[in-house]
């Protein structure tokens, strides 16, 4: 199924005959189903809240889990979005029923465990990443402040996130039987270092800024090498995300105002990307900047709407200050703000 999806032949009759009735929609449809599933979860919980006030969460959770299992086992849905939302929502409601009295710490541990179990059952990388993020919250609530006392530094949570990202990067060296496991590691190696950085980014202490900058820099370097050696996209994306973190920590390296920093760093990134594009126009050791195979429709859509969103907010007025760039979708509207 993974190969068929990658080659865009998942609906070919030959494939359909051999998947044992299992079906998985495209990424865009999966997202839509997931959103509909989440809305259905919320509505089901609200219905049970009216019908049976005392056991609403328990009843709604069991109902949603049963519906999700029915969709998986009987209708053979795999990575369809809706069963993932129902399964996760159901288990979260059950956790909320049983753990609601144990405070923030207990709840965050429960949420992390629920998400991890859901991720394993559904082979969903997004849920596993959320589970790790919830675990970092649990760690923060449990021990995070003890390291630095009054400084209120989320060191333990930050280290946990960086560690999770680094472990995922390391583990991705090995081959796994399922592509889903690769995707799980890919998500972890991209998102968790970002989470670690976010836990510590608000700290202005020089040691922490240098530490997070160094950690992100080292991670970026290792991820870059791993990405090139393994010919894998996830480490390269992790590298880019970590480089963004390094750039943020270097924000005070010069006394330039923010606008000039944005222009200078943006121009530097643009030139670097253009240089790389030019250099790789001829494939170097198999690496090329040309698109190979068919692109994904979802990324094209994101690119188009992203280009529209960059259009400056319009509507100049006599005394209004100018505000360009970074407007919302479809510009900014002719409403007098600029």
């Amino acid at each position: 199924m993974a190969a068929a999806a990658r080659l865009k032949v998942r609906n070919h009759p030959w494939i359909t005959q051999r998947t044992g009735g299992w079906s998985a929609p495209s990424f865009i449809a999966r997202c839509a189903f997931f959103v509909l599933g989440v809305v259905a979860c919320g509505l089901t919980a609200a219905v049970f809240e009216i019908l049976s006030r005392g056991t609403a969460l328990l009843a709604a959770g069991v109902t949603l889990l049963a519906a999700a299992e029915w969709l998986i086992l009987r209708k053979r849905l795999f990575h369809a979005g809706v069963e993932e939302a129902l399964w996760t929502g159901g288990l979260l409601l059950l956790a909320a029923h049983f753990v609601s009295s144990s405070g923030d710490r207990g709840m965050s541990v429960a949420v992390a465990l629920v998400l991890a179990v859901a991720a394993m059952r559904l082979l969903n990388p997004f849920l596993l990443t959320l589970a790790f993020a919830a675990a970092s919250v649990a760690i923060e609530l449990a021990v995070g402040h003890r390291f630095w006392g009054a400084h209120d530094v989320s060191m333990a949570a930050g280290v946990f996130c960086y560690g999770a990202g680094a472990s995922a990067l390391l583990l991705a060296r090995f081959q796994f039987l399922r592509p889903s496991h690769d995707h799980m590691l890919s998500w972890l190696m991209i998102i968790m270092p970002l989470c670690g950085f976010l836990w510590l980014a608000t700290q202005l202490a020089p040691a922490i800024r240098v530490g997070t900058g160094l950690a992100s820099g080292i991670f970026a370097l290792v991820a870059l090498i791993a990405g090139i050696r393994r010919r894998s996209h996830a480490p390269l994306l992790a590298c880019m995300a970590s480089l963004g973190c390094v750039a943020y920590q270097l924000r005070d390296l010069t006394a330039l105002p923010l606008k000039l920093k944005l222009i200078v760093w943006g121009s530097a990134a643009l030139l670097a990307a253009l240089g790389l594009d030019r250099y790789l126009r001829t494939a170097r050791r198999g690496i090329t900047s040309h698109p190979v195979g068919e692109g994904t429709a979802a990324l094209d859509l994101v690119q188009w709407f992203g280009a529209g969103a960059l259009s400056p907010r319009a509507a100049p007025q006599a005394d209004a200050p100018f505000k360009g760039g970074g407007g919302g979708f479809s510009g900014g509207g002719a409403d007098g703000r600029y």
Binding site: L36, V82, G293, P316, F322, G332
Partner: protein, 318 residues
Amino acid sequence: MISAMHSLELECRELEKAGVIAAPDAAQAAALERGTIFSVFEELRFALYAAVAAITAGIGLLVKDNFDRIGPVTLIAVLALASAACYAAALRTEWQRKERTIGGDYVLLLGALIVSADLGYAESQFHWLGTEWRWYLLILAAFHGVTAYGLRSRLVLCTSIAALAAWFGIEGRAATLFNVGGSAPTLGIHAIVCAGTLLVWRAANRRLGGLDSFASVFENFAANIGFWGVLALCLTPGARLLGLVLLAALAAASIFKALRGGEEIFAVYGTAYVALTLCCLEAQVIKYGLAVLLLELATVVAGALLLWSLRRQAAARA
């Protein structure tokens, strides 16, 4: 040495043997799985977008804060020069009859965005259009439209559509939709007219031999802008009926397109937007808690079932 992650090379070969994919496709897929070919196209696209976004934001802040020190004429001239340099790079590629790379596409987009900022700033300083300043957005849309066709750029076409939508007063903020007593009805009508304009533009593009690759840009923008407009109308007490009629028409058109062209995304638009709009409408109209919740749940379930069915049919057509 290449240490690949999970490889689907064997599966690709199996698909080739079964005749599901052609031999060249299978060879390319196998090479990708082995890592003998590796494209960093998407990474470059991401990096280029981030770079252009940073520069555009910086320019926005620059003209906002520094015009007193620099002076409007100097600033306008500098921005014009910068955008001219970007356009010159694209024109050079065009004259050399070479295919523009992804980097060239984003440099051109940067040029278009600088022009937008420059023209907006110039209008705000010199008031060439006086009280009819909104027309500068249409001028901008026309300019970007012409350059998009001249240089065959879908990204510049997106900025043209964004300027056109801004001329129609579409802000793209969800909060405006729920501002029932305020701008929501006007926004709804404007959005629907804007979507209609985009569809007319698309039809003209096809009739007059425009680029085929532009059609999907028009269609996706028209669908999204149109559905948001309908949602705004449905949330306005006096315009609900009109909103519902337009919702049905737009949903039917989307679903028809999905089934005819095998484009799954339009099945998603035609069902997800409808389910969302009906849920919002039901919450507004029906006051009894349990009834509205059950109705909304039924709407969402029906939406999911319809999407599942349409998706399969659309996929079978693709």
